[in-house]
Amino acid sequence: MNKIENNKAWFFVIPVFVVVAFSAVIPLMTVVNYSVQDIFGANSAFWTGTEWYREMLRNPDLQAALLRQFAFSFAILAIEVPLGIGIALLMPKKGWAASAALVLVAMPLLIPLNVVGTIWQILARSDIGLLGWSLSSLGMDYNINANAADAWFTIILMDVWHWTPLIALLSYSGLRAIPDAYYQAARIDRASRWAVFRYIQLPKLTNVLVIGVLLRFMDSFMIYAEPFVLTGGGPGSSTTFLSQALTTMAVGQFDLGPAAAFSIIYFLIILAVSWVFYTAIMTLQKDKSAQQ
């Protein structure tokens, strides 16, 4: 669509600008302020410059948490995206079954994060939980509090359970937008099931999938409450992700300066990766409109 150039449009944007400035800019400046000073009390603060930043970047615990964070985010994306598309293809398309399926599939999305953690904490217990009990009675030595591999397995399973529905719902609505004529044409051409998916359905899904991947990346990168409730970051620190490392430092040890520097670094990493995604979407959309 050709947009009109008009700077009066700023008037429409002012309310958003004010609200976001209040809830984002002021707190962010507070963090920046902490990150460059060493604060002892009300009136004694020393300028430290980039010292905290250098210290944080060299901190081995945080480097490890960062690596774990990337491993986790990519693992869940690699599972959730194909699985979500698969479920969307299976969902009923018409009638009451379609409505019922939508409501059921969406259910895990609306459970508060710490309740999700609680549900899986219970499930994973070998005495009263279905998952832990089943695995134990199959003879497996399953214990999320002692075995890091079990803890990882459970956290990834939990996230897949919780968030695959988001990808599934987005893909489902993307699929609904494909006109029947496309499928009829494919039948006349005797296209295989795979060809229909690859050349008709997948191209239509690209846009919704980019949104889904972006949302999932951003949210999984900030994951806090679920692993905190499920494993508490353990055993050891094998499931301590960035948000938890940060809150432990800021709240637990009252190290405001380093924690603030860490916050800024954390934010910049998410920003950088998301910017790459965002630019990719924008060029993608530009290419498309150029073709039309």
Binding site: K3, F12, V20, M107, P112, I122, D127, I128, S243
Partner: protein, 264 residues
């Protein structure tokens, strides 16, 4: 037929964890800890009664709902005109502003928890619903603008022009014609706003103490000195799912069209 069976298998696996929670919520603590039971043998509703008759429990749900709906109202009110501007006009700094809004969706709540606490304490809003609602606008406003912009770009500009020719003023056009046109979009946006605000814990817990405490924070009370009160914990968990199901039910007709966020 094969696909129907595969889908039903997925649904069963997906619902199992929730079933397990419901199963536990209908048992007494001694039965829960005694032996593994696949269904409640001595059905009891005491866990639910405990919660629904104790105002320090059920006020948690009221508090959560209050700030979630406040947040939805604020986010939609400011996001609608902004999304309209982004979808219809070019203006100085539009692309930067749009990305800047989006960066707020990327801001980890852990980064903002402490500064928010200090900010809202200093303006006297600590432990109020509006503080949590405003804090949640951090990520929700960005999301609302993003989703609505997609829908609005799908509405042909000729509709605006025709309305002006017919003598509609802008506010009248916006409310009477434009908003009904993007109903599905607003429904889906509301769903996302509800979802992200309802499930968030870290900010909601940091900004409240007793007056506006969300249910997620109250649930931690079940971990007392004598161990965890599993039955009550499970019942409280089940009750947190109910409002979500109600919301999905209301927007179910918009989901199929609307979840593609206007970008198909």
């Amino acid at each position: 037929m094969k696909s129907r069976i595969a889908f039903i298998v997925y649904l069963v696996i997906m619902i199992l964890p929730i079933y397990w929670l419901i199963n536990m919520s209908l048992q007494t603590n001694s039965e829960i800890l005694g032996e593994l039971s696949f269904w409640p043998k001595n059905l009891t509703f005491d866990n639910y009664l405990n919660i629904l008759t104790d105002d320090s429990w059920y006020m948690g749900y009221v508090n959560s709902m209050t700030y979630v709906f406040m947040n939805m109202a604020i986010s939609l009110t400011v996001a609608l005109p902004a999304a309209y501007a982004f979808s219809r006009y070019k203006f100085v700094g539009d692309k930067h502003l749009f990305f800047w809004l989006l960066t707020n969706k990327m801001a980890p709540p852990a980064v903002f928890a402490l500064p928010f606490f200090q900010l809202y304490s200093s303006v006297g809003l600590f432990d109020t619903h509006i503080a949590v609602a405003l804090a949640h606008t951090l990520f929700n406003v960005a999301l609302a603008v993003w989703i609505l912009e997609g829908f609005m770009s799908g509405v042909p500009k000729e509709i605006d022009e025709t309305a002006y020719i017919d003598g509609y003023s802008f506010p009248k056009f916006f409310v009477k014609i434009y908003i009904p046109l993007i109903r599905s979009g607003i429904g889906v946006t509301a769903f996302f706003l509800f979802m992200f605000s309802w499930i968030e814990l870290l900010l909601a817990r940091t900004l409240t103490s007793t007056g506006a405490q969300p249910i997620q924070a109250i649930m931690t009370r079940t971990q007392g000195a004598s161990g965890i009160d599993w039955g009550t914990l499970a019942a409280a968990g089940v009750l947190t799912i109910v409002p979500g199901i109600a919301v999905v039910y209301f927007v179910r007709n918009h989901i199929a069209k609307g979840f593609a966020l206007g970008r198909t």
